[in-house]
């Protein structure tokens, strides 16, 4: 697992209060991890802080799964 993936998963577990084994790369934030649209706004803010990247709203809207987040962050670093 990449370093980015580890850090993304840690943020997801902390913010959504879900079990670590549920946070697989293909897990959907809304369908699998119980997030609502505001939780995703909060997650995106946490990713921005953690990785020092800016994730504009149109890019954030396309982040549906854990893997989407990891790929986006990796592409900007």
């Amino acid at each position: 697992m990449s370093e980015t993936a580890d850090r993304v998963k840690k943020i997801v577990i902390e913010h959504l209060g879900v079990e670590a084994d549920k946070v697989t790369e293909d897990a959907s934030f809304i369908d699998d991890l119980g997030a609502d649209s505001l939780d995703i706004v909060e997650l995106v803010m946490a990713f921005e802080e953690e990785f020092g990247v800016e994730i504009p709203d149109d890019a954030a809207e396309k982040i549906g799964t854990v893997k989407d987040a990891i790929d986006y962050i990796d592409s900007k670093q």
């Binding site: 913010h15 209060g17 119980g34 505001l38 706004v41 909060e42 803010m45 802080e49």
Partner: protein, 418 residues
């Protein structure tokens, strides 16, 4: 007319986070006061408070029992306390599993005096330091006063009236009184009613201290600071927590064989129209709210055995006592009157609710809780049993609970044994 009874109780307080622990500590004359630990208060005029204790304390509060981890991260402490107290009350009433028809007739009336002040303070600092894009998307609904009622209704599926009172330190009493009327008026059969507060944060302490409402000369003796009716009192001690009761229509409670603590028989409201923070020296507003509650209950002062006073440990204590004296006349020699704020501090919007719970427990156990630190009763207290230092076993048929708030808003509740 539809009658309203109390069938469940829940509490989060500086002396414990379940009914029996808190009541045992109150009757043991314990104080929940101490140095402020929540933040560095060394530059504050008032450096003490009655904080809800952490989970590892002998009588601490564990938020993980009834509040989801995700919600804990999103909302201010007053909402967490309120959700937990509401859950306790539903469990006590045996109502955690209701069918859909019952849920349609069950509602919430849980308010707060101020709401999420710690979160408003901390997010304002983030806004100033990091800019608007760093403000939490949960900022608004994590601080709003009606979000205890909102969260509790979602958690338990309660689809009846969803209400939240904001009347400063009268909130808890108004919440219960309004909810009782909703049941009486057939808007609901079951109401979760009460109040919560948590404003022990730098701006909260500084704000009340600047308004000259908080104590300031007991920083080295926190447990002695809340001393209603005592000559040396010099302002209230801030408390925090929540109190929630289950109110239920009498026939509904009887039909399901519920345990019934007491009946809510009187509710009076009034306004001072005098000053934003100071009470009317004649306390005409308090007199009229108590009178209205007695009239609704069809009672006379001689029927009341215990008064849980507003009694904040400020100059207003003896003014309230003057209004009670005027209303009760000779009947004052029978009544016991105490302030449990001497033990748990002033819970502001939660005060009226936790104090209503202590009134109900007084009826259940036929004992009245003490006024701590009443070493030298002030002038004007002569001939009134203020229950100094230790509780008193006595007959308790009916109780009167007073709450008065900034803005000149007054509420009185009367409850009696069924």
């Amino acid at each position: 007319m539809r009658r309203v009874v109390v069938t469940g109780l829940g509490i989060v307080s500086p002396l414990g986070a379940d009914i029996e622990t808190v009541w045992k500590n109150i009757l043991a004359s314990k104080s929940g006061a101490g140095k402020i630990t929540r933040f560095d208060a060394s530059d504050q005029k008032c450096q003490i408070a009655c904080e809800v204790k952490p989970a590892d304390h002998e009588y601490g509060f564990d938020p993980n029992k009834r509040v989801d981890h995700k919600i804990q991260r999103q909302v201010d402490p007053f909402i967490i306390y309120g959700i937990d107290a509401a859950g306790q009350a539903l469990e006590d009433a045996g109502l955690t599993e209701m069918d859909d028809a019952t849920k349609l007739r069950a509602g919430c009336s849980i308010g707060s005096g101020i709401g999420g002040l710690p979160g408003i303070e901390s997010e304002s600092l983030i806004l100033a330091e990091k800019g608007p894009s760093r403000v939490s998307p949960h900022f608004v609904h994590g601080r709003l006063i009606n979000l205890i009622s909102g969260q509790v209704s979602i958690k338990y599926g309660l689809r009846g009236p969803n209400h939240a009172v904001v009347t400063a330190c009268s909130t808890g009493a108004h919440s219960i009184g309004d909810a009782a009327r909703m049941i009486r008026d057939d808007d609901a059969d079951i109401m979760l009613a009460g109040g919560a507060e948590s404003t022990i944060c730098p701006i909260g302490i500084a704000g009340f201290a600047q308004a000259r409402a908080l104590n300031s000369s007991f920083n080295d003796r926190p447990e002695q600071a809340s001393r209603p009716y005592d000559k040396d009192r010099d302002g209230f001690v801030m408390g925090e927590g929540a109190g929630v009761v289950v109110l239920e229509e009498y026939e509904h409670a009887k039909a399901r064989g519920a345990k019934i603590y007491a009946e809510v028989v009187g509710y009076g409201l009034s306004g001072d129209a005098y000053h934003v923070t100071a009470p009317d020296p004649q306390m005409d507003g308090a007199f009229r709210s108590m009178s209205a509650a007695l009239k609704k209950a069809g009672m006379t002062p001689a029927d009341i055995d215990y008064i849980n006073a507003h009694g904040t440990s400020t100059m207003a204590d003896t003014i309230e006592l003057g209004a009670v004296r005027r209303l009760f006349g000779d009947a004052i020699s029978n009544v016991s009157m105490s302030s449990t704020k001497s033990a748990i501090g002033h819970l502001l919007g939660g005060a009226g609710a936790v104090e209503a719970i202590f009134c109900i427990l007084s009826i259940r156990d036929q004992i009245v809780p003490p006024t701590l630190n009443l070493d030298n009763p002030d002038e004007g207290t002569e001939g009134v049993d203020l229950v100094p230092h230790v509780p008193r076993k006595r007959q308790v048929r009916a109780v009167l609970n007073n709450s008065f708030g900034f803005g000149g808003t007054n509420a009185s509740l009367i409850m009696k044994a069924l």
